[in-house]
Amino acid sequence: MVLHANDKSNVKAVFAKIGGHAEEYGAETLERMFAAYPQTKTYFPHFDLAKGSAQVKGHGKKVAAALVEAANHIDDIAGALSKLSDLHAQKLRVDPVNFKLLGQCFLVVVASHNPSLLTPEVHASLDKFLCAVGTVLTAKYR
């Protein structure tokens, strides 16, 4: 999966539009993921997952920041997320299938807040970007 020039500019445009809402989107993405895919909760036994949870908000902020970082360094996502990649491989070991689930929920959040932003072409680019991020985060698993 290669990010072409148009994909990169589509992704940057999305994140520019999302702007300061990124943290909020991160939290909602997690909330949706835990609701739509309950098996993902197994990675957070130490969290309060009730609606409005401060821990979920805090973690959503982290996830969003990572996506923003990847978008800002879209020519070298592997470099930008190298430490996170190590963390996921050595400590977190989240099964690779779950990155697709997170990606789906992020797309749902973007779509529900910005219907006109997520044209089919932009959707394609964002989906590719999210796949690329997932690939980087699981790259060092074995």
Partner: protein, 120 residues
């Protein structure tokens, strides 16, 4: 949902060689065969919703068709289901709550499973 599937996951176009011009997103969105087929697919979803207690039954013949005649990899049903959820989110915005998404992700999963059930 169907034009979006063909644009976001272009390899899904392999099943629609006889649909004419699929050369660009604009072509795909404007293609009358794509629109007609999209309508068929969504109508079939509507049938599932009217018969939520017997989805397997509703899709039994369609499953055989997709396996024996159309030769569609069931993974494509999952891809279409995810796209449909995103389209619903963009139409209903905040009303498409996490609980709503949960129900719909389950429904599209059940439909995909039902369509794959008669594969052999």
């Amino acid at each position: 949902s169907l034009p979006r599937l063909l644009i976001v996951y272009p390899w899904t176009q392999r099943f629609f060689d006889n649909f004419g011009n699929l050369s660009s997103p604009t072509a795909i969105i404007g293609n009358p065969k794509v629109r007609a087929h999209g309508k068929k697919v969504l109508t079939s979803f509507g049938d599932a919703i009217k018969n939520l207690d017997s989805i397997k039954g509703t899709y039994s013949k369609l499953s055989e068709l997709h396996c024996e005649k159309l030769h569609v990899d069931p993974e494509n049903f999952r891809l279409l289901g995810d796209i449909l959820v995103i389209v619903l989110a963009s139409h209903f915005g905040r009303d498409f709550t996490p609980a709503c998404q949960f129900a719909w992700q389950k429904l599209v999963g059940v439909v995909a499973h039902a369509l794959a059930r008669k594969y052999h």
